[in-house]
Structures are given as structure tokens and as C-alpha cells.
Amino acid sequence: MAVIDIRRRTGYLFLAVVVGHVILISTQVTTKRGVPMLEEAVFGVFSEVQRVANTVTTGVRTSWQNYFALQQVQGENEQLKQQISALQVRLQQERSLAQQSQSLQKLLDLKTSTELSTTAANVIAGSASPEFRTITIDKGTSEGVHADMAVIAPAGIVGRIIQPSSRAAKVQLLIDRNAAAGALVERTRAQGVVTGTGTDELRMDYVAGSSEVKPGDVVVTSGIDGIYPKGFVIGQIQSVKRGAGQYSSIVIRPAVDFSALEVVLIVLSPPSTAHVSGPSADQGTR
């Protein structure tokens, strides 16, 4: 008999029968709110199941969305980093252009303020040897550049052309140990010769001991060397040592920053006729 055959699962059967009866009773009994007990119990239990399921699905969905959002943020982050890099490069370019423009403006001002015939040239190379302080510019004989032409910058004297080629030229900087220029102290008009030392300083020699020279005085070109036009700033006296009869040592700090030269002007006019007009001596004094 079937009833007898299922005796092995007595406990489960008993439980099933009890539950069955409880369900049967619950369908008929209503709660205080007038809702059948079974309905309320089922709803109560199922609402908890729904709550758990909702929590799980919401958690999974949120995690999934966060995962994708994180991926998107990562992509955006990379994109923004690239944009920042590009903008930084562009900013540097703009800044460089601005500086270049400013430099050119100064050069243009210098060109218009002088009666000199000049041509602008870009510095395309530095010195090949530390023993020689030279630069290479992109103008040569094809543009009318010749040896011993003065090279100036808005701040002051740069040097002279020593080796021109057809499309380039080597410029000996004033700070080279073999360079020299006729100079005078602007305030006292005391004359002397400025020579390079191979360092970032200049030395002024042959200044008469009777002349009044003191640190801070501006030294300009005298024009007597036949290379540099008169009145261009060489630098500012940094220190003075007086000797017997004449000054033993006058150290000049150059007006031009030779390490930052980008564009220079080549004075094409012969030095004998070249002269700075106006307050050129005030320009570029550091």
C-alpha cells in the first residue's frame, strides 16, 4: 500500500501534513486587518524575499555600474592626462612664442631706434669648444654679412662676426678671452678697453687712474675699435681695484645674457658712421 511504502520518510511527511494544514487554516482565517492570514504570511515572507532579491540585484547592478563607471573614468582620466600633456606642450610653445615675440619686439625697437643698418639673425648653434665663446648665426655673406661686423642685442653688445660663410656666420662673443672692444664709462666718460675673460665676466683695462670709476657705473662702447658702434651698452662695473697710476682691475658684469641668446642684430653699417640715436645706452642695462 502506498501509505505504508512512504513510512520511511515519516518526519518529512508529518511536517508536510502540518504545514498543509496550517496553510489550509491560513486561507480561512483573517487577521485584524481583514486580510487572510495566508495572504499576509505569503506576502510577508515573499516581501522579504523580494527585499533580499532587490538588495542583491541592486548591489550587483550598482557594482556593475560602478565597474563600468570606473572603466569610463579610467578612460577619461587617460584622455584628460593626454589633453593636459598636449596643453602643457602647447602652453610651452605659446610661452616660447610670447618670449620670442617679446624678444623680437625689443630687437625691432632697437632697430628702429638706431640709425644703423642691421639685419636680424637667429642663433643656430653654440660654441664647439668650451675654450672659445662663440655662437653660430643663420646669416652669412649671402645676406651681406662680413667679418668684423658688430653683433648686438637689445640688452647690449654681443660680439663680432669672425667667420662668415654664405648662409651662416660664427660670432665671437665679447666674453671670449680673445675678444676686446673700445669702451668708456658712461658717467665719467673714462675710456678703456673691455676684454673677455673666458668666463661670464668682462675686464676693463687701460683706464686712467685719475678717472673716477665705481661699481655700478655703466660701460658702453666707445666706437674707437672700428667694429662696435659707439654708445652700446657693454655692462655694469661690478668691482674696482685701484693700482699704481691706473686701475689694476675693473670687473664688468655683461649686460647681455650670453647663455640666452636667440635672436641678434648684425650691424651692417660701417662703424665709422654707426651711432646710436637717443637713449640707447639705457637699454638692456641689468
Binding site: 502506498a2 501509505v3 513510512r7 515519516t10 501534513v17 496550517v22 487554516i25 480561512q28
Partner: protein, 167 residues
């Protein structure tokens, strides 16, 4: 065969309960013949059969008594299952243990039945002890008698056959 016998017994008990019992005890339900049958089936056939018998009988009883269907069924099923388990674990063949068994079964059934009604707020049972106790004794007596009659039936039949054959 046994299932059919159980169903027939339940049907007879219900018929007696609804018709004859009221004549026996002044019209009050001082006897629960269905419960007697359930306990009997449980003691003789085991807990599962007793449980199913109790469940079926109780549900029918509930349906006929316009009560909440299932409460009587659950109470009867639990009693049937418990009686069946006890019948398997202990020797309940003598009259007294059976008597006690019926008493306890009736008390448990009443407790479950009334307890569920009260618990669910469906019905009140003020001072039920006397009625329950009298029902328990009545059920026990009927149960003992029923056991005695049923168990004596095979012997009576055998003796009849013996008498016929000896003539």
C-alpha cells in the same frame, strides 16, 4: 485494503458521531468517535497511517461542523501521528495502557483544537475542563470497547466455524 478499511472506519465514525452519539449522551458532543477511530488506526497501523487518517477525518469533520477547515484536521493528524509513534515504541496491547492512551490523545487533541481556535481568536472555550475530561473518559471507554470487539471478532468467527464443523 487497509486504506479502504481505514476510510470506511472513518466514514462510520462520522456517521455515528453525527447521528447516534447525540442520542447516547443527551445531545451533547461528549464523545469524539472520529478521534477514537484515528487513535485506533494509529495504534494498529503506525504513525503515518494514523496521521493521514487523522488529517482526512479531521478535515471532513471540520467541513461538516462549519468550523475552520484544517484545525481539527491538524489536531487529529498530530494526535494520530503521536499515537502511532507511541504505539510503535511501547507495548500498548493491554486494556489499561490503551485506556490511558485514549485519555491522553483526547486531552492533547482538545488542547490543540481549542488552543488553535483561541490563538487565532476565532472562538472562546470558557471552562472546558469538565467537558474535556468527560470526553476523554468517554472516548477511552468507547475505544477500549471497540478494541475488545474488533479483537474478539476473529475468535468469534473461529469458534462459529468450529461449532459448525463439529455438528
Amino acid at each position: 485494503m487497509r486504506a479502504a478499511g481505514v476510510l470506511i472506519a472513518i466514514a462510520l465514525a462520522l456517521a455515528l458521531q453525527t447521528s447516534l452519539a447525540r442520542f447516547l449522551v443527551g445531545g451533547t458532543a461528549a464523545l469524539d468517535l472520529v478521534l477514537v477511530v484515528v487513535v485506533y488506526v494509529a495504534l494498529t497501523s503506525g504513525p503515518v497511517t494514523g496521521m493521514f487518517a487523522g488529517s482526512a477525518a479531521g478535515i471532513v469533520q471540520d467541513a461538516l461542523s462549519s468550523g475552520t477547515v484544517g484545525i481539527g484536521g491538524l489536531a487529529n493528524a498530530i494526535v494520530g501521528f503521536g499515537a502511532g509513534v507511541i504505539g510503535q515504541q511501547f507495548i500498548v496491547t493491554a486494556a489499561f495502557p490503551r485506556f490511558v492512551m485514549f485519555i491522553v490523545a483526547t486531552l492533547v487533541h482538545s488542547a490543540l483544537f481549542m488552543g488553535m481556535y483561541v490563538l487565532l481568536g476565532l472562538k472562546e472555550f470558557p471552562s472546558p475542563w469538565a467537558a474535556v475530561l468527560s470526553q476523554a473518559i468517554g472516548n477511552a471507554v468507547i475505544g477500549i470497547v471497540a478494541f475488545a470487539i474488533i479483537e474478539s471478532l476473529p475468535g468469534v468467527m473461529e469458534r462459529r466455524r468450529f461449532r459448525r464443523s463439529s455438528r
